[in-house]
């Protein structure tokens, strides 16, 4: 074996106890401060206003003051069957959407990636995404329609659906709204995953093939780990949207029939803007917000895990 032939003519002294400090970054903080303060004011003000409302019985008349009720609004939540059912439906709704969209999006991206028709097909697939959710809801409302809706006709002809319409039955309405969300947002996942697939290091794939791996092993050992950050972004975006955007649901079912699609945000909408029970609505909104933030933070922290970081 070759030895490193360093003659010991100068033994280094012990490392100095005080190391030079890296240049200060404080300068940037000062520059950013005004923007951060403005942003904080804009987004913090409504946040505190929400908390304030949730602790009061909010009056709808300028002459009557709001009445302090303490945590009464929150206490009421626990015994509110609709509220708890809203959570359950929200979980069912967003988890089904997520699984379907990520699964389909991944599959579509893998099929499209490097295919000859990638560019034109992606353009076509993106169209649902360009549509305003309310419009999507309206389009599907007609497609689902019990009398002249195309889907209804197809499914009834096939004998899958008997007399009822898709959105009119408590057993299928949830499926109906999940399908619409999936139709509209799978393209987004496909787009994100396609971007991720372009970043999968070819050299690692090649090394792995030479090491003796086939296509399936390659996918799980090299492609998928490299896609995780992209899938995380997709999941984060979709999950936040499902917790907040209910335009399509309002248009399609409005929470019905028999509350079978009354996911929490729909219930919140009803409490606050149909019944104008603003204090109670604020309490619901606050719990929804807290859960959204916590799940969001968990997902974001997953990005910063060292095992997910790609350094090239």
């Amino acid at each position: 074996m070759l030895q490193t032939l360093t003659t010991d003519f100068r033994t280094p002294r012990a490392a100095p106890s005080a190391l030079n400090t890296a240049p200060s970054q404080r300068y940037y903080v000062y520059l950013l401060a005004p923007a951060i303060l403005l942003l904080a004011a804009i987004s913090l003000y409504p946040f505190f206003w929400l908390i304030y409302m949730s602790l009061h019985q909010v009056s709808m008349s300028p002459n009557q003051p709001d009445v302090w009720v303490g945590l009464a609004n929150y206490a009421k939540l626990l015994s509110d069957k609709r509220y708890l059912e809203g959570w359950r439906l929200l979980v069912v709704y967003s988890v089904s959407c997520m699984i379907l969209q990520v699964g389909l999006g991944l599959l579509l991206a893998l099929v499209l990636n490097n295919s000859r028709w990638e560019k034109p097909l992606v353009t076509v697939f993106l169209m649902p995404m360009m549509m305003a959710p309310v419009i999507a809801g309206l389009v599907w409302f007609y497609l689902y329609n019990g009398t002249f809706g195309w889907y209804n006709w197809v499914l009834q002809s096939l004998g899958i659906l008997s007399g009822t319409s898709i959105l009119g039955s408590t057993s299928t309405a949830m499926i109906g709204i999940v399908v619409v969300d999936t139709w509209q947002w799978t393209p987004l996942i496909t787009l994100i995953v396609l971007a991720g697939l372009k970043r999968v290091p070819q050299d690692q794939l090649e090394a792995h093939m030479v090491d003796g791996a086939g296509a399936v092993r390659n996918f799980f050992a090299i492609v998928l780990p490299n896609l995780y950050p992209f899938l995380l972004i997709a999941v984060l975006l979709r999950f936040m949207d499902n917790f907040r955007f209910i335009d399509a649901i309002l248009r399609l079912t409005g929470g019905g029939p028999a509350n079978s699609t009354k996911v929490l945000p729909v219930y919140l909408f009803e409490v606050s803007f149909t019944n104008f029970n603003l204090g109670y609505g604020a309490a619901i909104a606050f719990t929804l917000l807290v859960v959204t933030i916590v799940i969001g933070m968990v997902l974001v922290s997953a990005f910063t895990q060292p095992s997910l970081q790609q350094k090239h």
Partner: protein, 364 residues
């Protein structure tokens, strides 16, 4: 023990040919170097052998079996990639063990193999690190380790030691050569470093612009280059090339090669090479075929002046300018001389290389 045959292989990237009509064979257990400058199609050739690149035309066989359509995993090859291609999330040890694990080798056997390779490559202390935490040379050694832990049919090396420092490179040349002889595994080794090729290979295939120029033993390539291009690419310091003329002095068989003041009388053994050739041709002289002296010891010496002196420690390179040209000569370390001082130079006429001026082909 696998014999690799490449026949009439082309590689086109779109309309651009990277490898043109390449044919060679690598005997079972042979160490074949593919030598050529950057961009000559070496990696493309290797990647076609590995199954990573589609073969545009022609056929490659392992032991007579066509492998064009075989995916890489079924070719049983081990490859060292030019850009290392290590798995960033795996430790050095796991990088090296990956192929063995994929083949379901028992853990104890894997460990012995990895440890043995790591010891040879002097990376035993790095096994728990991740590639990100390694220097370029260390990464390259891990990449070699990943190949040599296996017992494949064929080793494919793509410039595996190009990024090591000179000393370690010298060490690795010896180790790899020894390892290959011990394992007797068919090896195709790509390099642009002629010293590597000359020192390690059983045979060398020299390529330029996608075309095979010559294939032969290192001695063949060095002593009998097939054309001017091979002669200029192989050898360090490079061969001197001069435009020269063949003239008859006295009788018809008395030949002399002339370039300005430099005159070389051809020995009997070389005379037949110039049969029919008269007038312009290219003369190639390796620096070690030249001798220099401060005073003219005889009649065959040409007078010139010292253009530059480059002491290299063990040898000295002297660039001599004479009327009509300039040549680089290699001489002993004890050479002393000032710039522009007079000097005399002579050529060992048995070591001349003669090339056709029109197409660069060697006259043999």
């Amino acid at each position: 023990m696998t014999k690799v045959v490449v026949s009439e292989v082309w590689k086109m990237y779109g309309k651009v040919p990277a490898v043109r009509d390449l044919s060679f064979s690598c005997e079972s257990g042979e160490f074949l170097c593919v030598l050529g400058p950057s961009g000559c199609g070496k990696s493309s050739t290797l990647r076609m052998l590995a199954g990573l690149e589609h073969i545009s035309a022609g056929e490659i066989t392992f032991d007579g079996k066509r492998i064009n359509e075989l995916p890489p995993k079924d070719r049983d090859i081990a490859m060292v990639f030019e850009n290392y291609a290590l798995y960033p999330h795996k430790t050095v040890g796991d990088n090296m063990a990956n192929a063995l694990k994929l083949r379901g080798m028992p853990a104890a056997e894997i460990k012995t193999r990895v440890d043995r390779a790591a010891a040879m490559l002097q990376i035993g202390h790095l096994l728990d690190r991740r590639p990100m935490e390694l220097s370029g040379g260390q990464k390259q050694r891990v990449a070699i380790g990943r190949a040599i832990v296996r017992s494949p049919k064929v080793f494919l090396f793509d410039e595996p030691i190009g990024h090591l420092d000179a000393k370690l490179r010298g060490h690795m040349r010896g180790e790899l050569k020894r390892l290959q002889r011990e394992l007797a595994t068919t090896t195709i080794y790509v390099t642009h470093d002629q010293l590597e090729a000359l020192s390690m290979a059983d045979r060398i295939a020299v390529m330029n612009e996608g075309v095979l120029q010559q294939i032969g033993t290192p001695q063949d390539i060095y002593n009998h280059p097939a054309n001017e291009w091979v002669a200029s690419f192989v050898g360090e310091p490079p061969m001197n090339f001069l435009d020269a003329e063949v003239v008859t002095t006295g009788s018809e068989t008395d030949l002399e090669v002339r370039c300005g003041a430099l005159r070389v009388r051809l020995s009997d053994a070389h005379r037949h090479r110039l049969e029919g050739v008269r007038g312009g041709m290219r003369l190639g002289i390796r620096p070690e075929a030249l001798q220099v002296a401060g005073a003219a010891p005889g009649a065959d010496w040409t007078a010139g002046t010292i253009y530059a002196v480059e002491p290299l420690g063990g040898d000295t390179l002297v660039e001599v300018a004479f009327q009509g040209g300039r040549v680089l000569a290699k001489t002993g370390a004890d050479f002393r001389g000032e710039m522009d001082a007079p000097i005399f130079v002579t050529v060992d006429s048995t070591k001349l290389h003669l090339f056709d001026a029109s197409n660069g082909r060697a006259l043999t």
